[in-house]
């Protein structure tokens, strides 16, 4: 057993393959977002080295999930209601290197702020022509692009007169188990962001990383407004050689 514990200590000093969380990541407990109070651990996390389990990750996305669904406005018989938008950007690592051929899954409310979900019961219309689910794969330079409609804001029960800012949910796995990320993209100049407890679980200025930018070059004439949103995943760290 002495050999084993000595070995474990040695492993803990091995450099990580992927960087750890930075100061802009939220804590699990953020009491202003009431649901976190009973759903966040009270014991400290146990820090472990990044083994093969953490530094590998799933591939074969199309085998698992099916092909891309990059246009959310053409999934039903007619065009959905609302402001048509293009969202595009790049998936990068912390050195600014692209993350190619990785899946980006998205889901969102419709233009009225209503989700096509049995448990979303607030009084805004459903749109039979809009589901709000999509999936894109980044290209060789880490770029992605999808077409949708701008989601509406909606009320929720967290506190009196609580409204979520308009947002699109994004889910990424990246190259490894360690790089898993689920985030939300917000829209510029939305007054609800600064009074939203979910967005505000992220400290400033890092909260602003989640606010997309309107871009006239991405906007298509007579068709759709364009927004830019880059997603930065953990890692990669410099190689051990570079660190020396």
């Amino acid at each position: 057993m002495t050999t084993l514990s000595g070995y474990s200590r040695r492993k803990m000093t091995k450099p990580d393959t992927y960087s750890r969380e930075d100061a802009g990541q939220p804590a699990s407990l953020h009491p202003a977002y009431a649901s976190t109070v009973l759903r966040s651990p009270r014991q400290p996390l146990v820090r472990i080295p990044q083994t093969l389990t953490e530094t590998t990750g799933p591939r074969d996305w199309d085998r698992l999930m099916g092909g891309a669904m990059a246009d959310l406005t053409t999934q039903h018989a007619a065009m959905p209601q609302g402001q048509r938008i293009i969202v595009s950007g790049r998936v990068l690592d912390e050195q600014g290197h692209p993350v190619p051929h990785t899946v980006v899954e998205i889901w969102q409310a419709n233009a009225a702020g209503r989700y096509i979900h049995a448990k979303d019961q607030w009084d805004a219309p459903l749109d039979p022509n809009f589901t709000g689910a999509g999936r894109v794969i980044t290209d060789g330079e880490g770029r992605y692009r999808f077409v949708s409609v701008r989601p509406g804001a909606y009320p929720w029960g967290n506190h009196y007169n609580a409204w979520r800012p308009a947002h699109i949910h994004l889910s990424l796995l990246g190259p490894a188990f360690a790089t898993r990320l689920v985030t939300q993209m917000y829209f510029p100049d939305d007054p609800l962001i600064e009074i939203d407890p979910i967005a505000n679980a992220v400290p400033m200025p890092q909260r602003q990383r989640m606010v997309s930018r309107f871009d006239i070059a991405t906007t298509q004439p007579n068709w759709a407004l364009g927004y830019l949103f880059d997603i930065v995943l953990r890692g990669s760290l410099a190689t051990p050689m570079e660190q020396r």
Binding site: S8, G57, Q208, R209, I231
Partner: protein, 210 residues
């Protein structure tokens, strides 16, 4: 004001909750069956039929394999089951190799939404012991991510198999305080590997900083 495109803000995109309405966007039919024999994992009951756009089940392993079932309830700090949580797993194949290291065709990734009773379930194969490039051996284990409403970032844990002698020398279990190790050990009961996840409180599951 600075935004996503501001170079002075460049860095990790912050994590946010999946919220309560992820079911039509993430967990596809068959996502919780890593050998492709059933359509478990999704909750198509939570959306109109013509708004289910996610993948349909298909076989991912062509040869007959011995499967195992893993099942558990996810509970909050008051012991209440959580009906709006998603569990993901990542594991090696029976020879201890991750996808990309072998040609077995086994992808090793699965996704299960919890039921109204807070229960998740996977059908998969038992992973083998894993050897790292430096020779470190890990006992058979499955990496778990827990995401859900009220969870601003995923929680990471691991499942180990009760009775496996390799658990005694596993370098990661060895980092867990002895009194809490049991929260990471699935127990065989009625042919199912039972692995409950306690988000908070007595017998709180050990979660890892990776």
């Amino acid at each position: 004001m600075a935004d996503n495109q501001s170079s002075e803000l460049f860095g990790q995109t912050p994590s946010q909750t999946v919220g309560p309405f992820f079911h039509y966007g993430l967990p596809w039919k068959g996502g919780a069956d890593l050998v492709g024999a059933t359509d478990i994992g999704a909750r198509p009951d939570l959306m109109p039929e013509d708004h289910y756009l996610l993948a349909q089940p298909h076989a991912t392993v062509t040869e007959p394999v011995e499967t195992i079932t893993i099942e558990g309830v996810v509970v909050d700090g008051q012991g209440v089951p959580t009906p709006d949580v998603m569990v993901e797993i990542w594991q090696a194949d029976p020879t201890g190799r991750y996808a990309g290291e072998s040609n077995s065709g086994f992808i090793g990734f699965g996704r299960s939404s919890t039921s109204e009773a807070g229960v998740y379930r996977f059908v998969t194969v038992k992973p083998g012991a894993v050897m790292d490039s430096d020779g470190m051996i890990q006992a058979p284990h499955i990496a778990f991510s827990i995401l859900g409403r009220g969870m601003l970032k995923r929680l990471v844990t691991r499942l180990y198999f009760d009775g496996d002698v390799a658990n005694e020398s596993d370098p990661i279990l060895g980092l867990v305080p002895h009194a809490r190790r049991d929260t990471l050990i699935a127990k065989a009961r009625d042919g199912v590997w039972r692995f409950d996840i306690v988000l908070q409180g007595d017998r709180e599951t050990v979660f890892f900083d990776i």
